[in-house]
Structures are given as C-alpha cells and as structure tokens.
C-alpha cells in the first residue's frame, strides 16, 4: 500500500509539471490581457504597453515561464494584480468561505443522498421508491443557479414581503450589516443563517445525484448471497440493511467522493454568484475575466493537484474499505 501511494505520488510530479506547462501555454494563448480592464477613452497604446511592463508581461514568454514555475516550486504563487495582494493571501481569504459552503453541502448531501438511496433500495418498486425517484430526478435536473433564485424568491422575498412569514432567510452575502457590532454567539448564528439557502441549494442538487449512486449500489449488494444468508439466519431487516449491506454498497460512492474533492475547493461558481458568496469559484471566474494570470494559474494548478489527490485518496480508500482490492498485490 505504501509503495503504491509513493509510486502514485512520484508519478503525479511529472503529471502536474505537464499540467502546469499546459496551463501556462493556454493562458498565454488567451486573447486580451490585464490592460484591457482599463480600456476606455484616453487610453493610449503606450499606456497599455506600460501596464504590461509594470506587470512583467513585456518579457519573453520563456523567461516568464521559467520564473513562474520556479516560484511555484518554491511555494511563491505570485501577486494578484486585480486584488492587489499575494495570491496566497487571496486563497487565504476565499478558501475558508468556499470550504464552509461546499464542505457543509457535501457532508449533508452525502448523508441525505445515502439515506434516500438506502430507503429507495429497501423499498424497491414501492410508491416510496417511485415518489423519491421522481423527486430526485427533479432536483438532479435543475440548474443550481435557477434553484437558488427560486429559493431566494420564496424564502427571502416572498417570506418577507409577500406573505409576511414569521421568519425569512437572507438572500445574499456572508453576514448582516452591523455584524462587527454583534456579540460572538450572534455572529455565529448570523453566519449560520446566511448559509441556509446556498447550502440548501447545493445539497438539493448534489444529494439527488448521490442518491442515484447509493440506490444502485444498495440494490446490487442486496442481491448478493451473503445478504441472502444474513436474512436466512433470521437477522432483523434493519441490521441486514445497515450493518451488512450499507457499508459494502458505499464502495462506488468512494469514487464519487474522490471526484467531488476538487469541487470542495474550487467552489460552486453559480451558487456563489447568486448568493453573493465570495468563494473560489467566483474568484477564479473574475480572475479569468480580468486576465489576472498569477491568480488564474495558481488556482488552476491547485485544482489539478486536488484532482490528482482526490483520485489517489479514492484509490487508497478503496483498498482500505474493500479487502479484495490490494494495490501491492
């Protein structure tokens, strides 16, 4: 197992170097440049050239590449010109917010999705199964941004303005105006309250997909002989389901979890935009539109690293969870 992990990590180095090079080339080929952000009356070609010079973009591409890759290797991700601070500081601000949003959503989505999938499998072909199937497919096919706006219209605008409900949810942002003046406990609740709609949006969409995997996995396990044996031994239905079937049915979800790991860090750009949640997704989109090369490159590279690590983690978890899988064999 250790040898397997080390081998995979060693292989990841040239892979990431290739990805980094490809990223640099793609960014270099993209039309436009940071100077275009200021395009407007009175802006001369000389000013455009000066902006590029101030950002070090006037140097030959090879020199810039070597300089960038060397800096990254030394842990220096560069300086974000669109935000006026080091890229690492930008990540330091937005990553916690993204992790808060997507982390909460993923945990809840897995818990709810697995629960639904198990229930559906246990009641296969019943009206519960069919009803949940329809519900899951409905949410699975909804675009997250549309669902987000719908939730805002109902639970924020509708609840507050139209129907005068006793409660309503904040439509956007991380916190209320005057947050700084609140006592600690109220701050905590305020942040929690602002998470409800964006997290719910993500959970509804993500849980629907996870429920599909969970249901299929559970059904396959329920058809196996050891489950039949367990039932024949007279074990209670609940024990068979949760003790014997569930752990093994979760194996395919390890792959899904591995695939979702980059999402955890890259954020959910549409949900972040709809709910004015300043996270990684929105930051990266803004970085692309302002041609903030250091931020785009560092963010993309980070995602690449996470994809590699996510897959590695999934493989390792497989080996841990399933004795039949042994990587060193």
């Amino acid at each position: 197992m250790t040898r397997f992990l080390l081998r995979r990590l060693a292989l990841a180095v040239p892979l990431l170097l290739a990805v980094a090079t490809l990223l640099f080339v793609l960014v270099e080929m993209a039309p436009g440049g940071p100077e275009m952000v200021w395009m407007g009356p009175g802006m001369t070609a000389e000013v455009q050239a000066q902006i590029r010079e101030n950002l070090g973009l006037d140097e030959p591409v090879t020199i810039r590449y070597v300089r960038w890759i060397t800096s990254v290797a030394q842990g220096d991700l560069g300086f974000s010109h669109s935000r006026g601070q080091p890229v690492a500081a930008v990540f330091g601000q937005v990553l916690p917010e993204t992790l808060l949003l997507t982390g909460s959503a993923l945990v809840l989505a897995f818990v709810i999705g697995i629960g639904i999938g198990v229930l559906q499998a246990a009641r296969q072909n019943s009206w519960v199964d069919h009803g949940l199937n329809l519900t899951v497919l409905f949410f699975y096919s909804l675009p997250a941004f549309w669902l987000g706006i719908l939730l805002i219209l109902v639970f924020s605008y509708g609840a507050q303005v139209r129907w005068d409900w006793p409660f309503h949810m904040p439509a956007s942002g991380l916190r209320s105006i005057g947050y700084e003046q609140m006592p600690l406990a109220q701050r905590f609740l305020d942040r929690l309250w602002h998470m409800v709609l964006p997290v719910t949006t993500l959970v509804l969409v993500l849980a629907a997909g996870i429920a599909r995997y969970a249901r299929t996995g559970m059904l396959e396990v329920l058809r196996t002989e050891y489950i039949r044996s367990a039932r024949a031994r007279g074990l209670p239905r609940r024990t068979v389901l949760l003790r014997h079937a569930l752990p093994n049915s979760l194996l395919p979800l390890i792959t899904v979890l591995g695939l979702y790991l980059p999402v955890l860090f890259s954020g959910a750009v549409f949900v972040e935009t709809v709910f004015a949640w300043p996270g990684m997704g929105k930051t990266m989109v803004d970085a692309v539109s302002t041609r903030d090369y250091p931020l785009v490159l560092a963010g993309s590279l980070l995602f690449a690293v996470l994809v590699v690590l996510g897959n590695l983690l999934a493989d390792a978890l497989y080996a841990v969870a399933d004795p039949r899988v042994r990587h060193d064999a």
Binding site: M39, P41, Q48, Q50, G84, Q85, L99, Y157, R187, F188
Partner: protein
C-alpha cells in the same frame, strides 16, 4: 445516541471554518485587522485614521436632531476593483466613490455641465490659455489628520503624467506640459499648471481625485497599482472615512465629522456601505426586501417591478453610454458609404430601442449624448427605410445575382458580414440577433460571433488584426466629448478606421476650441458629416435606471451618477 454522535462527528469538521470565522473576528472589526495585516503601511495609516476620527468626533460631536444617523446600503454587481486608487480606477462606480465619497477632486460638474469648486475654491486660466492656477481650500484634511495642500495636487499631477504609473486616462493631460516643468507649487494652497491652450481644461481635474503625497510620495510610479493604499487602507479626504473592505463583499465608510462646513459639513448618514451582489435578480430581491437601499444599474426589464413595488422607487437618469454597431471600413465590402448607410436604413432602430430598453432610452444618431450642450434634439438621422436601403445597395453594386436571397457583387462575393459582440452581454446579443433578422430582409447575411469579453476587446482593438466586419459595443464619453479616439487615426478605439479629412479637421478644431458659441456650428457640421458617412450605426443612449428604497431620502436621478449628492442622503429616525 451512537448514530447521533457519528453524524455530529461528520458534520462538525465542516462547521469548523464557521466557528473559526466567528471567533477570529474578535473585538476589533475584522477588515481593519486585515488592513493591518497588509503591512506596516496600513498599520500606521489606520492607526492615524483612528486617532483622527476620535479627535474629530470629540471636537465635532454628532449633531443633535433627527436628521443625522442610520446606515445607507448601496448594492452594485461589481467590486470596486482597485478601490480608492485614483490612478487606476476601473469603472464608474469606483470612480464615483473616489470623487464623491472617500476622496475629492479639485472641481465638480453641476447640473448645467458647468464646473463648480470642490477641493479648489477657485481657479484662473491665463489670458493666453497656457496656465491654469488653482487656489485650494485650507480646511480640508486627510483622514489621518494631515492637511490637504498644493503639494498633493502637484504629486497627483506628476504621477498621473508619469508613464510609469500607466494612468489609463493619461490622454486627458496630453495638452498639459509634462513633468516638473508642468507644475509649480506657488504656495501651500496655490498650484499652477502649464499647458497649450485647449478646450475644457478643467475636465481632467473633475475626473482624477487628488491623492495624498505624504503617504504615497515615496512609492515608485510603477508600484502604485499594487500598493495596499487602494484596497486595504485608503486614507481619503472626502465626506466619508474608510472603515473596512471585505473583498467581493462590502466596503464600509463612516461620516467624516471634520468635513468642512463650507462644503456642507458632515454627511447625514452615519455609515455608508457598498455591497457587492453579482447577480441582478438577487440584488433586486434585496432591494424589494429592504436589505439594500439603492440598487445601481437596474436592467430595463426590472424597472417595472421596482416601479410597481410598495417599498421602492424607480429613478431614471440620462446616461453617457451609447450602443452602436461599428462597421469596419478597412474591409472592401464596407468601404462604400452607401453600403453603410443602407445597413442603418434597413434597421428599425426605434423599434429596437423600444424592444430592448422598454422605452428607457433615447434613439442615437451620433455619439453626442442627450445631456451635452451640443446635442440637437431636432436632428434626425437616417430613417428606417428598407426600400431605400435596397436601392442604395443596388447602386453600390450589391445585387442578389443567384436568387438565394443574399446580395453579391460583380465578382460573386456574397454580402456576408461577421459581427462580433460580448457573449456575456444579453442586451447586445439580442441586439445583434435583431440586426441579423432585419438585415436579412434586405439581402445582407450577418454571421454572429459571440466572444468572451476580453477576447472581443482584443480582436476589436488590436490595430494589427481588427478581425471583424461589425462590432456591437457600448461606449461612454466623459462630460467633455471628444470622439478623436473613435473616429480619427488608427488607435485602439478607431473601430471603423474612418479616414476623412473633414472629420479630422473638425475634431482637431473642436478639441482646441474653448468658446462654446464658436464650437456649436462646428459640432453641427461634425454630426451632419458623421450621419453621411455612417461609420457606426448608432442605436441608443440607454437611460440609467436605479431603484431606491423609501427608507433612503435625498437620492436623485442624476446623469452625473448615483453618488453625486451622497452627502445629502438621509434616513428618517423611524427607519433606522
């Protein structure tokens, strides 16, 4: 119990950032802590601002009476990217925060487009038009307690005209004498600038806010854009003091107790917050729910919702931006003015304005905006006339020779035009689609090419490529209208590539003419000539729509911008 514990163990790690986020904010405002973290510069600057504020509050306690107090929240879809760095302002919201909120310009423009004193209490242009002398107020202080003086103006001018700064609007000073020879500090509150005579010499000083020499004087010009002053710890001298900035979230300012009485004194609201809400539907919801007091830049399709709501009012102001299709005259197909006139005549522009803007716009025939003194309401452009358009195309040699509905020239080349536009702009996308449908009726085939914003700009502005036939775009003039960039030479913004000696002569004369009575007939002739040549099909000046909550009083629809009278906004005690 065990199951519950397992769930808690699973859920709690994801809540950790939330807990840490709330705890980490501690007693001092967190963004101030962030500002401190930006290094010793911000640490020292913000400490002095705190001391200044404490001292100013002690000397000028909050006025009694119900007029003062409350927090006004403005919502916008964009971040104020480079913040209060006046040398690198990106958009109009950011510039207005510099001009009216946190910093000060030397002069402001009034409703009649006449300059009025602001930081400068007076000015004088020498008889030969080569010297401009400003006399500054002596009662304006930077928010760290330093007095704003002539050295700040000289510093601002020198940095703005220093190539290293890369001030995007440096062209506005092109007729000023560059470098140390161009500016002279006569005394602490008098500064003299040298230039060649030209029209509207004050315009650059309306746009560019004065920056603090005592804080930024040692910063090399090339490093100003990356300096933490702009976004981490701006120290202004305007009616509102910077308190905090959370990237992509909000800016918070506090009323400046020491703002001079001669300029209206302390603002009425205690705090002013600019919130970034990138999605317009969400922002509209926040306005209607009363969580945002002012929503700048509503879409036309949102206007009726605001107008019919109970808690908000619609504000409609004239705007400077006009939307057009530029025709690339470098291409042989579009070199003939008859073809370009035909393209405009085949488009029902009035119907387009109505359909796209739902009435919130003015038909454009040239780029002279409706608020400008040279705008002539009676001037008509080319009328919608498809039959006339067909006749013009026939005359120009473009006839449908093979019966496929598309016109060809004698060589058989079809009249197919590639039109590019910003894919993210739904309004321009719809406009391009309407153009495509209407021009097909007269035998012109448009191929629509939506491009990512930067890619579109690069393709449109690179003089070496100009890889397009048509370009749908919006352009916003300063109050001083000068279309040289758009209609003369081959600079980045000379989209059509017009080379017309008369237009060149008129533009040169207009940029140097200081007397409006002399300039007016020149403007008339210029506009007539542009309509004849049709380098652009001008569509509309979209009106600037804003929604303001009933809670916030004193906000006016103003073509100069939303923040023009921010000092006078107020909130009734019952609404605070």
């Amino acid at each position: 119990m065990t199951g519950t514990l397992r769930i808690l163990v699973a859920v709690l790690p994801s809540c950790l950032p939330l807990v840490l986020g709330a705890c980490g904010d501690g007693t001092p405002p967190p963004s101030r802590s962030e500002a401190m973290a930006a290094g010793p510069f911000c640490d020292a600057a913000m400490t002095r601002v705190n001391e200044f504020l404490a001292s100013a509050r002690a000397q000028s306690p909050p006025p009694t009476g119900g007029e003062y107090g409350g927090t006004a929240v403005v919502g916008g879809i964009t971040e104020l990217l480079s913040g209060m760095d006046a040398f690198h302002a990106v958009d109009v919201n950011q510039r207005q925060h510099q001009q009216y909120v946190n910093l000060m310009t030397l002069v402001q423009v009034d409703e009649e487009l006449e300059m009025r004193p602001w930081l400068a209490e007076s000015w004088e242009v020498s008889e030969d038009g080569t010297e401009l002398t400003f006399r500054l107020r002596d009662d304006v202080f930077w928010h760290d307690g330093e007095r704003t003086d002539a050295y700040d103006v000289a510093f601002t001018y020198l940095r703005a005209t220093d190539a290293g700064t890369a001030y995007p609007n440096a062209g506005a000073f092109s007729r000023y004498l560059e470098g140390e020879d161009g500016v002279e500090v006569v005394d602490s509150f008098t500064v003299r600038l040298r230039m060649e005579p030209h029209a509207e010499v004050l315009e650059p000083w309306r746009v560019l806010a004065i920056m603090p020499e005592h804080l930024l004087g040692d910063v090399p010009a090339e490093e100003l854009a990356d300096h933490p002053f702009g976004t981490r710890c701006p120290v202004g001298n305007g009616p509102f003091v910077f308190l905090s900035h959370r990237q992509d979230e909000s800016w918070t300012f506090e009323a400046n107790p020491a703002f001079p009485d001669g300029l209206g004194g302390r603002p009425y609201v205690d705090r002013l917050v600019y919130r970034v809400v990138p999605e317009q539907t969400t922002l509209l919801t926040e306005l209607l729910a009363g969580n945002v007091d002012l929503f700048v830049n509503l879409r036309p399709d949102q206007a009726d919702v605001v107008r019919e709501s109970d808690g908000a009012e619609l504000l409609v102001a004239e705007a400077r931006g006009f939307t057009f299709a530029a025709w690339n005259m470098r291409r042989p197909k579009l070199a003939d003015a008859r073809v370009r006139r035909a393209l405009t005549m085949a488009l029902d522009r009035e119907a387009v304005v109505e359909a796209l803007l739902q009435g919130y716009g003015t038909l454009a025939n040239t780029g002279i905006p409706p608020f400008h003194w040279a705008f002539d309401e009676a001037r008509s452009g080319l009328e919608y006339d498809p039959a006339g358009a067909r006749a013009l195309l026939d005359q120009a040699g473009w006839v449908d020779r093979n019966g496929d509905g598309i016109r060809e020239n004698e060589e058989g080349t079809p009249l197919e035009l590639d039109v590019i536009f910003n894919a993210a702009n739904q309004l321009r996308r719809t406009l391009a689609e309407l153009m495509q449908a209407q021009l097909l009726e007269v035998g012109v085939d448009l191929t629509l090419t939506p491009l990512e914003g930067q890619a579109m700009r690069a393709r449109a502005t690179n003089p070496d490529s100009r890889d397009f036939d048509g370009l749908v775009l919006e352009w916003e003039h300063d109050f001083r209208v000068d279309e040289t960039d758009l209609l003369s030479g081959d600079g980045p913004f000379a989209f059509p590539g017009l080379q017309d000696p008369e237009v060149d002569r008129l533009l040169a004369a207009l940029s140097g003419e200081m007397d409006r009575d002399v300039a007016r007939p020149l403007w008339d002739r210029y506009q007539t000539r542009i309509i004849e040549l049709q380098p652009y099909t001008y569509f509309f000046f979209a009106q600037k729509l804003s929604g303001v909550s009933d809670r916030l009083e004193g906000v006016e629809a103003d073509f100069r911008g939303n923040w023009v009278n921010v000092k006078d906004w107020r909130i009734a005690p019952s609404d605070r």
